[in-house]
């Protein structure tokens, strides 16, 4: 594997023109993400964490600076299907079964029928939804729906997984177990993950790198390389090193808020 960063942002700016005048959503973002990293973006609403993810996905266009994904422009990367995107809402099509939903990107990308079946079976196994392929989304719980939407993003084997608060709407118990599963999944697939969250424990538990952001204008307040070991059972969250890291994230968030006030 090459050492070139998978995602690299240099003095990235994004200003939205709104009815109330320009709003600077991202200001001077400098960030480099290596292959296989798990990077969390944390910060209060309006800090630009989702906007940054959308820039990487070429769903928003930056107004300044440079951003490369796999060494290409984000739009080229999107066209070469470099990433899978998991939205906050599972957004499964109610008229398709779970297998049908996972198949959707494969149909669009023109995989053969046999290949589609094969991949659907594999990714459903990966997110532990084997046997639910024939169910419709409304027959599944919120957590299972979100797992299906992760399976959908994994189905076409993009190396980058972009996740925008995928577990934000779920209760904490479900969230814990999904976090644990996500880590296992990440370890197995070796994908580069970008994960937007509101939750400090979630960010610390999952990440190899935590990007703390602050609002108005959206900018990076701190980048923390996680000192946690690769092997992370759920009870690591009671360890001293976990608490210290969480504390540093909290400090970063507080400092960011102080600047803005």
């Amino acid at each position: 594997m090459t050492d070139a960063p998978v995602i690299e942002a240099k003095s990235l700016d994004l200003t939205f023109q709104t009815g109330d005048g320009p709003v600077q959503a991202l200001s001077d973002i400098n960030l480099s993400i290596a292959r296989g990293e798990f990077v969390s973006f944390i910060g209060p609403s309006g800090c630009g964490k989702t906007t940054f993810l959308r820039c990487v996905a070429a769903l928003e266009a930056p107004t300044g600076g440079t951003l490369t994904v796999n060494g290409m422009t984000p739009d080229k990367a999107r066209q070469s299907r470099a990433y899978g995107y998991v939205f906050q809402a599972a957004g499964l099509y109610p008229w398709r079964t779970i297998a049908g939903n996972v198949k959707l990107p494969l149909e669009i990308m023109g995989y053969s029928g046999a290949e589609q079946e094969d991949r659907v079976r594999k990714v459903l196994e990966l997110v532990e939804l084997s046997g639910f392929g024939k169910k419709y989304p409304w027959q599944l719980s919120g957590g299972m729906q979100q797992r299906a939407s992760i399976a959908r993003a994994l189905a076409f084997d993009a190396d980058i997984l972009l996740m925008d608060e995928p577990f934000g709407a779920l209760d904490e118990i479900v969230r814990d177990s999904l976090n644990e599963e996500l880590l296992k999944l990440w370890a197995r697939t070796q994908k580069t993950c970008l994960f937007v969250t509101h939750s400090i424990p979630e960010a610390v538990y999952l990440s190899t790198k935590i990007v703390v952001m602050s609002p108005r204008p959206g900018r990076i307040a701190d980048i923390i390389d996680s000192p946690l070991p690769a092997e992370r059972p759920l009870d690591i969250r009671d360890s001293q090193i976990f608490i210290e890291t969480a504390h540093r994230v909290r400090e970063g968030l507080r400092a960011g808020h102080g600047d803005a006030a």
Partner: protein, 310 residues
């Protein structure tokens, strides 16, 4: 006995007792009662006039009795309409000019043709409007304006014009009028339905680098189906009205509209009312047919509610 495990399906009697049918039946009864009262009230004038001419004064019971059996009542009593309806359907050969089945079939043909034409046109224009801002701005206002013109004013013109260009018979102009009435609800609903997928769902397809065609067939079209069927129910009833209106201008001798006109022109209210009810029953059957089709489609698409899986 009637164990729940043995009899999971509720019989219609159980539903009546369950209270669902009771309100329905109450409303029906109320309508019939009001109708009878109105028939007595409206037809009494004629009874009193006749009595005055004969120099007698009828009792209230005699008035009521007479209002129920007049040959040309202002407002026929329900049982009179039912009897006429029975006589003109079951008791006639279906090819007879006196049979409402015959006339209903004539109207139904134009209705179905108009409905299909209108639905295809409505969906096609909606697809254009959703995909082209120019079409949205240029076509939509005309579609709205088209519906502000009273169809009774337009219908004779369409018939005269289609005769002038050498089209024989009434099926074509009736189809046009019927389609004219039915395309609009389809157009409006389909525009809304095709636009119903939110930004997030469109973004998702963008991340797959999906083409416009793929977005249409995989997202917009299936998302619009519930809107489509809602529109179909309105459109099928509108189509029937269009076909009947196409039969009203002078000259038509076949179809439910022609029967209504004949009934009113020759002072035969029973014929008119029977045709009116035949049309209402036909509309009901058509709407129910569309409803069944909807259920089937939604069930195939795995939608809950609407009679799909429980």
């Amino acid at each position: 006995m009637t164990d729940a495990a043995v009899m999971p399906r509720r019989t219609s009697w159980q539903r009546v007792r369950g209270g669902k049918m009771l309100p329905v039946l109450s409303v029906l009864c109320a309508i019939v009662v009001i109708w009878y009262a109105a028939a007595v009230w409206m037809n009494a004038t004629w009874t009193l006039d006749q009595a005055a001419r004969a120099g007698t004064e009828p009792t209230f019971a005699e008035i009521v009795a007479d209002t129920m059996v007049q040959k040309r009542p202002l407002l026929p009593a329900p049982h009179q309409v039912a009897a006429t309806l029975w006589d003109q359907t079951i008791e006639q050969k279906v090819t007879s000019k006196r049979s409402l089945v015959f006339h209903g079939w004539i109207t139904l043909q134009a209705t179905i043709l108009g409905f299909v034409t209108g639905a295809v046109l409505g969906v096609a224009v909606a697809v254009g409007i959703v995909h082209s801002r120019t079409m949205d701005l240029s076509v939509m206002p005309w579609a709205v304006i088209s519906q502000t013109i009273p169809i009774v004013a337009l219908a004779p013109m369409i018939i005269v014009l289609s005769n002038a260009v050498g089209i024989d018979g009434r099926t074509v102009p009736k189809t046009i009028i019927s389609a004219y009435l039915s395309y609009f609800p389809v157009l409006v609903s389909m525009v809304k339905g095709l636009r119903s997928p939110g930004a997030a769902q469109r973004d998702l397809l963008k991340t797959y680098n999906a083409s416009g065609m793929q977005t249409f067939f995989k997202l917009r079209l299936p998302a619009s189906l519930p809107y489509f069927f809602a529109a179909m129910k309105v459109a099928v009833a509108a189509s029937l009205i269009g076909a009947i209106v196409g039969e009203l201008p002078t000259g038509a001798i076949q179809g439910l509209g022609a029967r209504m006109l004949i009934g009113s022109q020759f002072g035969e209210p029973l014929i008119m009312w029977a045709a009116l009810f035949a049309a209402a029953i036909l509309a009901g059957v058509l709407v129910i047919a569309v409803g069944l089709l909807e259920r089937l489609a939604l069930r195939l698409m795995g939608q809950p509610g609407q009679g799909g899986a429980r």
